[in-house]
Each structure stands twice: as C-alpha cells, then as structure tokens.
Subunit: 128 residues, 2 copies
DNA sequence: TGTTGCCCTGACGTCGGCGTCAAGGACTAC
DNA sequence: GTAGTCCTTGACGCCGACGTCAGGGCAACA
C-alpha cells in the first residue's frame, strides 16, 4: 500500500508518516517509481506509535515498542525496554497527577476564600 | 529598583521581565538614563504572575489578576474576571486529571499483562 | 583612563510534532 | 493529450515562554 492509504487507515497524515520516517521510526520500501510502499506490518507499527502518542508518550519513548515489534514480537510491549518505559511513565504520571491535584486543591481554596460563594464540590462552573 | 534587582527578588530573569512588558503585563517607568525603574507594587504584580505560572496558568490567564491588582485591589484574585479564570482552571484540571488517571490505569493494565511480575501498587520502579 | 558591571534594543534560536506551501514527477481515466 | 489525483523532496511556519547573542550606552571605582 502507498503512503496515503496507510495514513488514512491509521487516521493520520502523510506528513506524519514522513516525519516518523525522518526520525527513524518507520521505514518504507520503494516501488520502481520511487513511491513508498508499506505492508500490514507497517500498519501495526504505526498503530503502536499512535496509541502511545495518544497516551502522551513522546516519539522517542515509542522507539522501544517499535523495535520490539520489528524484532518479531507479536506485541510491542513485551520487551524489557518497553516495560521500562511503561514503568517510568507510571512514575511520571503519578508525580504529575499528584502535582495537579495539589494545584487543584490550592485553587479551590483560593476560590473559596476570595469568591467564597460556591462550595468546593461545585465543579460545573458558575451557576449563572 | 532596576530590572536586575526586581528579577532577582522575584527569582526570575531580566529577559522574562522584558518579555512580560512586551506582552503588556508589566510596565516600567524609566529613569533619565533610560533604565527601567520598578517599585514594590511591581514586585507584587510580578509575584502574582509567577505564582500563577507555577500553577500552570499561561500568561494570558494571569492578565485579569494583574489588572485586578493594578485597579488597586489588595489581592489579584478578588475580581470577577479572576474568579472566572479560577473556575475555568478547576474544570480544566478536573478533566486533565481524569484523563491522566485513565491513561495511568491503562498503562498499569498493560504492564501487568505484559510484564506481569510487579503488582499494580508497585510504583517505585523495578526492583532490579 | 580603563575596567568592570549593569543596562539598552533587536533579533535569532529552542523544543516537538507536525501543517503548509512550492515545484515538479507519476499514473489513471477519458 | 490533458485533466485530475496521487506521489516526491525541500523548506519555512507555528505555538509559548523565554534563552542567548550582538553591538552598544551608562555608571562607579581604581
């Protein structure tokens, strides 16, 4: 399949695929006319990348998963390097969520003491 | 006081102060030699901005607080526009935290089913 | 008088993940 | 043959909040 079809099937753009290729994440064979040519395996790689991106992984963090798939594993997350990324991400997320909850609490306090008319559990915005 | 002292007292840089000025958030009188001149009120404005930035507010979101202080209010968050920003931020944070918790849960599941040796409550990284 | 240390403006660089445009080649349908 | 759609590479644009550099002025002290 050509780049346009692959992009469409993965719900992304040709620009994105060329960008991934420039980053060394996705490679392509070439047809005689110079067009990139992909197969179902490439689609699986691409879907792995996109899923992780949707989770908030940056591109570099997806690399171990891609290499794991390229190495022939049926899942990208069965290799040790991928599991390490998962674990680091969990720690990152826990820290981030903790920070955000602290900020949320602080803003709640400030809102209550400054505007003080809405209870803290009122999260749907002002009643207006 | 001059820009270097103000920056030091607020724990930031002169570049940052000039940037805020370019965005219309912080104004400065000028001495005869052209140097920017600030007073304690400017320090309070700047600290208000920095506190909100630390909370994750973007610069535009700090504007109502700054204008509230400029209008003579002792606190930047007592004006209606500031309270609106607080409320929007709470909603944003709740949504974001919810998303992050969902991602965290999903990664936890994937880690458990792929590498399955660490219990879900193990958040301190691999035992090695 | 020279040296240091602050200040000035203007402008380009940074980061990530692409969007968008330009100029052209390839292929299909009619 | 020509219109239309796909593909190619290369390169600049974007966002936010500044960092960093260039080239120069002002002030104080030895």
């Amino acid at each position: 399949m050509r780049i346009g079809e692959l992009a469409a099937r993965a719900g992304t753009t040709t620009r994105t695929l060329r960008y991934y290729e420039s980053r060394g994440l996705l490679s392509a064979r070439r047809a005689q006319n110079g067009y990139r040519s992909y197969d179902e395996g490439d689609l699986r790689l691409l879907r792995q990348i996109r899923t992780l991106q949707d989770f908030g992984f940056d591109l570099e963090e997806t690399r171990p998963f891609v290499e794991c798939l390229r190495a022939g594993h049926p899942q990208g997350d069965t290799c040790p390097a991928s599991l390490d990324v998962y674990r680091r991400k969990l720690a990152e997320l826990d820290a981030l969520i903790g920070d955000l909850r602290a900020v949320r609490a602080e803003i709640g306090v400030r809102l209550a003491s400054a505007g003080g008319e809405e209870p803290l559990c009122e999260l749907e915005g002002p009643k207006l």
